[in-house]
Each structure stands twice: as C-alpha cells, then as structure tokens.
Subunit: 336 residues, 2 copies
C-alpha cells in the first residue's frame, strides 16, 4: 500500500463544528506530509482557516462544498431521506468512490450508522456495525464494543462484535490471539440476560477466538482481556460514566490542591505527576472510535471533542486505513 493517504472529514459535525474540526485538519496536514484531506462542509466556513495556508499545504486540501447538515436531533430514518446533501453523506460518498480511504465525523451517531450502512454497505455476515474504542487498563488498554450504535443486541450480533473486535485488536496491537470477554454482571454461567448467556456459547464455539469468559465492570481495568464485548446501551453508559468519573476526580484533585497557599505550591510541584495521570486516563486522548462492520472506514469523534482530540480521531482514521481494518474483519468472518 502506498504511503499516500486521503481522508474525508465532515467538518460540520460535532458540538462545535468547523471551529474545532478545521484547526485539527490543518494541524494534521502539517504533521503528515503524505496526507491529503477532503474537507466537506458549508462553503462559507473555510475562508478564515484555509486562506493563509501555503500553496504546498493547499495542494493537499480539497474543499467539498455542501449545503446541508445532519443535526443532533435528526432520526436516522429522517437523515436517510432528507440529508443526502449533508456534509456527513458526502464525506461517506468519498469513501465509497475510493477518493478517500476513510471518513471522520463528530456528528449524530445514529445518523452516521444509518448513512454509513446505506452508502458503504455492510460486510457480508454483519447484521449491524458496532462502535469500538480503547480504554486504559493497568496493563495497557482494552478495546470495548459496542459503544452505542446498537441499543438491543442479539447473541448473534454479540458474536459478530467479538469477531470484529478481535480482528481489529490483532491488527492494531499485533496480538494474534487477543483475549476476548463478554461484559456481564457476574462471572458465573447463570449470570446475565439471555443474550449474553447465548452469546457465551456461540463465542466459545469459535476456535479462532481466544474466549476468556464473562468479565465484570471493574475487571475490565485489570487487563484480563483485550477485547470486551457488550451491547451498545450498556457500553455507551459504562464509557460515558467513566468519562464523568475521570472528570470528577480531576476536578476534586484540582479543588483539593487549591485549598490554601501551601497546597497550591504542592500542586505546582506535583504538576508533572498530575499531567502524567491525565494523559494516562484521559478518555479524550483516545478520541476516535471506529465503526466496524462497514465496507469502508468510518471514525466517529466525540461530539464535544476539542481540536486536539479531533486530531486523535483523524490519526485513528490514518491507522485504520494503513492496517486496512475492514479487510482484516472480512477475513475473520470467512473463517468462522
């Protein structure tokens, strides 16, 4: 595969739109001399960010003007019918037409899923795509899926998530047999709902998966598994809940180090330690969740991502492109 890479970015998506996506895009163009970006969005938003760029940089930046935006309130079905001129739809089309190897959006997740399925199509053997992202553990990190694309999941779907997650982690981490677990409310066979119990049998029967059983919410951080499978309702709430707790802890630490002059000095001295912690546990640092199961690469950025975090999502798109994750998944599905 050539080093040259093109990524399509839905610059209108996310809570802050172009204000955070465009600085991130330009930074990534500067950092990666082999990168070309398709910036998809309303014609009027680009000027302030792109006008002053060097000609060399401009040559790797293609503006794709659009006239509509998927809003956070749009139902997936509505987006499918009425948002075909949107920045999200057009960014996906660039992947479909092989102009870009991946697309990045911080927009409405449900709509991104629906438009992704419609424009790119699903991989054979996949009912519904899933969202995957890495979370820190005491060893290194684990990949959790689904993070919110699928509210209700059948046992078959959970099996598909296990296969996709395992393929992704094999590729990204160079781990040929990542330990795969099912998130549950206990580790005994009788625990959980029908879907997870049935999924356990299905996953166990797959010789190509290294299934290590049920895993509880706290154990995820112990590094007992590299792939953790759950339905999107649970996964989304667990992940966001962790983000909330991480922020709460950071806030409490700050407050505590601000209590008096002595503590403020102590806090200044402890800055490197606190920065280290922030970097290790900051969920935003790993911003950029892959939508697995599509015939193409789609990266979902957190809606409230900062510009630095949006850059991480673009980096994820670059990584997934270099590793050709959809092909790796397709291969895994053939062997099941």
């Amino acid at each position: 595969m050539s080093e040259k890479l093109s990524i399509a970015v839905d610059v209108m998506g996310g809570d802050y739109g172009p204000r955070i996506t465009l600085p991130a895009c330009i930074n990534q163009l500067k950092k990666n001399p082999h990168l070309t970006l398709y910036l998809v969005g309303d014609q009027s938003v680009f000027g302030p960010y792109t006008e002053t760029l060097s000609t060399a940089l401009k040559s790797r930046l293609h503006i794709v003007p659009t006239t509509s935006v998927v809003s956070m309130e749009d139902k997936p079905s509505f987006a499918l019918r009425h948002r075909r001129e949107s920045s999200m739809f057009k960014a996906l089309e660039l992947v479909k037409n092989n102009q870009a190897s991946a697309c990045v959006s911080g927009g409405n997740t449900g709509a991104l899923m629906a438009l992704g399925c419609h424009v790119l199509g699903r991989l054979s053997g996949i009912d519904r795509p899933a969202i995957i992202s890495a979370i820190p553990t005491n060893k290194s990190h684990a990949y959790l899926l689904d993070l919110g694309a699928n509210v209700n999941c059948s046992a078959d779907q959970l099996l598909q998530f296990a296969l996709m997650g395992s393929a992704m982690v094999s590729a990204v981490e160079g781990n040929s047999s990542p330990r795969t677990a099912l998130l549950n409310i206990g580790i005994e066979d009788i625990k959980g709902n029908d879907q997870v119990r049935q999924a356990a049998s299905l996953i166990q029967a797959q010789q190509q998966l290294n299934y290590v059983g049920f895993i509880e919410g706290d154990e995820v951080f112990n590094g007992r598994a590299e792939v953790v499978v759950c339905d999107g309702f649970t996964g989304n709430i667990a992940l966001k809940s962790n983000e909330g707790l991480a922020r709460l802890i950071a806030g409490k630490l700050k407050q505590s180090f601000n209590r008096n002059l002595y503590r403020r000095i102590l806090g200044l001295l402890a800055q490197p330690v606190l920065k280290e912690l922030q970097q290790q546990i900051d969920p935003g640092r790993r911003n950029g969740a892959s939508l697995l199961g599509l015939q193409g690469i789609v990266i979902k950025s957190h809606g409230s991502a900062s510009s630095r975090h949006f850059e991480a999502a673009i980096e994820q798109a670059i990584l997934d492109s270099k590793l050709n994750i959809p092909a790796r998944i397709a291969e895994k599905l053939i062997h099941q």
Copy 2:
C-alpha cells in the same frame, strides 16, 4: 421510635465471611451503645472474636447458630429450596419476626433478593425489589438504582424504581422533591430502548415525582439529579466499571508518586490531598446498598468489602431503620 435498635447480620456472607464481618460487628457494638446485634452463622466461627468481650458488650450480642450457608454459585431457585437453614435465611427471619429491624448480608445477591422476597414479602405495588446506593457527584452525591437485582426491567418496574428511589432520597437527604432522571444513551426523546422511552412517559405523568428527563452516563457526576433510574444490568456494570476506574486511577497515582526519591517525598507531602480524594471517591466508603421494595430492611454489602466497609453497611442498616424507609416507600406508592 425508641433509640434502641436491633440488627441481624449474616456473618457468613461475602468473600471473606466472619474474618471481616465479626470485627466490623464488634466495632459497631462499641460505637453504638443502643445497638443490639444478632450474629447469624456457624457456631464454630464466633469464639476467637467474642470470647474476650466485656459482659456489657456481650449482653448486646446474640449468637444465632446456623448449619448452612448460601454459596456464591447457588441459583436463587436453589437457595429457596435448599438454604432454609442458612445464615442468610435465618437473618431475614429475624426481621420478619420483628426481632431485628434490619438485616445485613454480603452474600449472593440473587439469593438475597429471592429469599428476601420469600421471607419478608414485597410491598404492595412493587413487582421486584431494586438495589440502591449513592455515588459521588461534584455537588454531593446521587442515588442510583437498580444496581443488579433485575437484569431485564419493564417500563412499569423503572417507574417503581423512580418512586422508591425518590422516597428513599427524600427521607435520607431531607429533600422533599429530589430531581429524578432516567439513565440513557442520549437526552433526546428518540434515544434508548423501548423500556426507557415508555418509562419516561410513565414517570413524567407522576405529579409527585420531580422528573428531569434522560441523563447520560457522564452527567450523573454533574449533580443534575439526585435519583438516577436504570435497569440492573446497566446499573451494575456502570457502578462496577466506576469502581474499577477509581482503583486504576489510585494505582496510577501511587505508581507515579513512586517513580523516584523526589517524587516519593512529594507524594508524602501530598498525602492529605490524596487521602481526601480517596475518601471522596472511594466507592467502598458508601458500602451498604439498600434492597428497596421489601416489607423490611435488607442491606447488601459488597462481597469483597473490608471490615471497615462492612461497618458502613451496618451503619446504613441503622440509618434505614431509624428513617423506616419501607414505610416511606409504601406511603409514596399509595399516592401514585
């Protein structure tokens, strides 16, 4: 209500049994001169802990010998049929017979639920009991239920949880109109599964509830609601996941403060700050989750609780007894 209080303790429950429950019981007896404890368990385990106690203390300690134990692997149905001589069953019977005002157990949650329903009975209007506990927020704390008693929950059950949680928080916090929210993967009306969407209509229709809508996982820590309702599968995984993350962060901080001599000194100086943080976010500090919806008070301690944390569970039993939580819930149910 008299200040005198009797609590029944299943001393065999939990991962460590009498080794942690008995020291906790004795400490609580020493701390609370009006407290009487019924210690329910195998006759042979008490000696080392109770023999040397003063006569005054012994007079407030009743040993109830039992010959069987509910194991962590016992299915609820099995426990119902074969564990009628167990410490858990006998402790519940003491509440039923009004010898104790509450019972505390660190044993098998499913069995505690099933035996609790069987021995004490449910409150009229409650399909299934729910487990509630407090989690820290940036304002103070919020109460989350259900935390694992019910894997699948109907919209009706979620409404019942909202009523019970609201009654409990009113009593414990002296807040007559606690803000009540439904945990979901988005705040828009279209988000989530059928159960939460239907529950939203049911809860909204209740004039006596201060319903504030859907709440996402991260917002729980913002103090936007005092009562957060969810099914037991999601609640259990979110809570345990938070416990895991809190431990991970504590571990990383320790590691970071141990990197070299300078950092170790800094760590020593920062001890008060770190202790403060630990106290504020330690999930174990709030150990002792109430099983709401029964005609009697049952407190579930974390299976892996330390002796200090098991004491917190006994304190929760004392608090729930003083406030007569089941009566407060019954009152709320009449007015729905």
